[in-house]
């Protein structure tokens, strides 16, 4: 539901059904609401059959890349004789995204159940839940729920008393966006700097501790029990746009809307309905200028791109951007696009792990040039310089943080060039003191 607001009738409430319901947080409360039935049902199936159900549901990764979840699980080796690991990615640090936080705060046992089913499917006896260090409340709630799950015989030597062993460990991050990138996360978990690793090898071959690993996002894993309970056909049927994008997705809406919050929508719902109807549109008297639909790492859309855009993986790509993590950042006509693009690039410059030259230097230079433009000392050639830099930063590095910094610059210049020009010509007074 549109937490913290009451559900909108246009929402399809599945994962968010119990947002705001404190009773759902405890083990007893969760069981009363039908919790752990999916795990029981999964344990009665062969692990491969669980994976097949998830495959058939069409569920795709909700962490940003949209990779088919069942397919990812099927990459895990069979009978390798090695320990397998499941890692739940709860690092949620992508600007604009705050959905995993609510899943952990309100339905911790739903996430534990999803992790348990996934671990069973991939043959993992150990699951690490990597939660960003700043999430003090979700950390405490998850730790309590995991302890309850052990105490009630869900986790431990035998899953639900009958299945294989499963240990679940909450691991606290310490402040680094890049640890959300799955290989950076694995290094961090191993007690290293969170530098992303070169792939291959892929995590399913050699992941955390060099062993076969599956990394999934919180929202992805939280969807799994519902799929097991209600079936692949049901999930696949939640689809208004095209059959490659199925199920529900949580959208975090923030910025210039009257009702910021999390909304759960069937795939294929129009973006305009989300922004104007559910999230209440702009403040009075304001009009829409721009939207970043998938967390800060995707290209910026202008008001024209938003018109008729369907929210699913393909629909947003058709409008020149990406669904990403579903963090919808809304900007009205009062927004200084140059300043906000600059602020975004500062984020990436700060969060670059600095191991690739194009990223380390590129993010820093992008910030410097934008600072110069905003300070009133930009040169006509600066926009070409920014685009040239962006070109060098795209597709050339170990992970896509570098590309993510380039995306708002390239799309911003393409769509809001006149705002850059206004700073360059002096028509607009400097927004930053000269450096």
């Amino acid at each position: 539901m549109g937490y913290p607001y009451p559900p909108d009738e246009k929402e399809t409430v599945v994962l968010s059904q119990y947002f705001g319901d404190e009773g759902a947080r405890s083990y007893q409360g969760w069981v009363k609401r039908g919790g752990y039935q999916a795990l029981e049902a999964a344990l009665a199936m062969e692990p491969g059959a669980v994976t097949d159900v998830v495959k058939a549901s069409g569920l795709r990764g909700r962490g940003g890349a949209g990779f088919p979840t069942g397919l990812k699980w099927s990459f895990m080796p069979k009978d390798s004789g090695k320990d397998h690991y499941l890692v739940c990615n709860a690092d949620e640090s992508e600007p604009g995204t705050f959905k995993d936080r609510e899943i952990m705060r309100w339905t911790p046992h739903g996430l534990i159940e999803g992790c348990a089913i996934a671990a069973y499917a991939i043959g993992a006896e150990c699951c690490y839940v990597y939660i960003r260090g700043e999430f003090t409340e979700p950390l405490a709630i998850m730790a309590k729920a995991v302890a309850e799950a052990y105490a009630n015989g869900v986790l431990g030597e035998k899953l639900l008393g009958t299945g294989p062993r499963l240990e679940m460990i909450i691991h606290r991050g310490a402040g680094a966006y890049i640890c959300g990138e799955e290989t950076g996360l694995m290094n961090s978990l191993e007690g290293r700097r969170g530098n992303p690793r070169i792939k291959p090898p892929f995590p399913a071959q050699a992941g955390v501790f060099g062993l076969p690993t599956t990394v999934n996002n919180v929202e992805t894993l939280a969807a799994v029990p519902h799929i097991i309970n209600r079936g692949a056909d049901w999930y696949q049927g939640i689809c208004l746009g095209n059959e490659k994008s199925t199920g529900t997705k949580l959208y975090s809406v923030c910025g210039h809307v009257q009702k910021p919050g999390n909304y759960e929508l069937a795939m294929g719902t129009p973006l305009e309905e989300l922004i104007f109807d559910m999230a209440g549109g702009m403040p009075p008297g304001r009009t829409l200028k721009a939207v970043i639909p998938g967390g800060s790492s995707v290209p910026i859309m202008d008001a024209e791109d938003v018109k008729g855009c369907l929210l699913d993986y393909e629909g947003v790509v058709e409008r020149g951007s990406m669904l990403g993590s579903g963090g919808v950042i809304v900007m009205d006509d009062s927004t200084d696009m140059v300043y906000q693009i600059y602020r975004l690039t500062r984020f990436y410059a700060h969060e670059s792990c600095a191991q690739c030259t194009q990223c380390r230097e590129g993010t820093a230079w992008t910030v410097k040039i934008l600072e110069r433009i905003l300070g009133g000392h930009g040169k006509e050639s600066d926009l070409d310089l920014l685009l040239d830099l962006a070109d060098n930063m795209t597709g050339t590095t170990i992970c896509v943080l570098s590309d993510s910094c380039a995306a708002p610059v390239v799309s911003g210049i393409a769509k809001f060039r006149s705002e850059f020009d206004a700073y360059l010509s002096g028509a607009r007074p400097p927004a930053l003191a000269a450096h």
Partner: protein, 170 residues
Amino acid sequence: MSTAGASASETSYQPVFTGETMAALETLFERYPTKQACMLPALWMVQEARGWISERAMAEVAEVIGVTPAYVKGVVTFYTMYHTHPVGRNVIQVCTTTPCSLCGAEAVLRTILQETGCEELGRTSTDGRFTVQEVECLGACGFATPILVNDDFIESVTPERVAGLLEGYK
């Protein structure tokens, strides 16, 4: 090796990992296939006990984990939440990333810097009460502006709310 020139803080260093804290770390060792995986948890334990992570503490972590002090330093400095310098009794982290910036986060930050008497980012107020940090997205962008005061995550902070909120932190 202690020499006549060693500073008081070096000679008087009290280890963190003794008694219950060491026992807690040893329990953690059993939950990971390598000792090194307990690096972040061990650093959290140090910071909880001491408020920050000194070079001596890094050396101690190195010893219990089984890596070099330089390695520990490399890890500590990678993560923004570990303090490598003494901080005020209350550490305030304020998000000013784009979504919060759109909703006026910079004004919240300015007010906090003034009201705490810190004036500058990263500086501790003269009464030792506060240190203020500007941080990137706290994962609560719909509740702009979120701040983290020690372990208290506070949403929807406005300049008007700042003075009242700070009252609670002595």
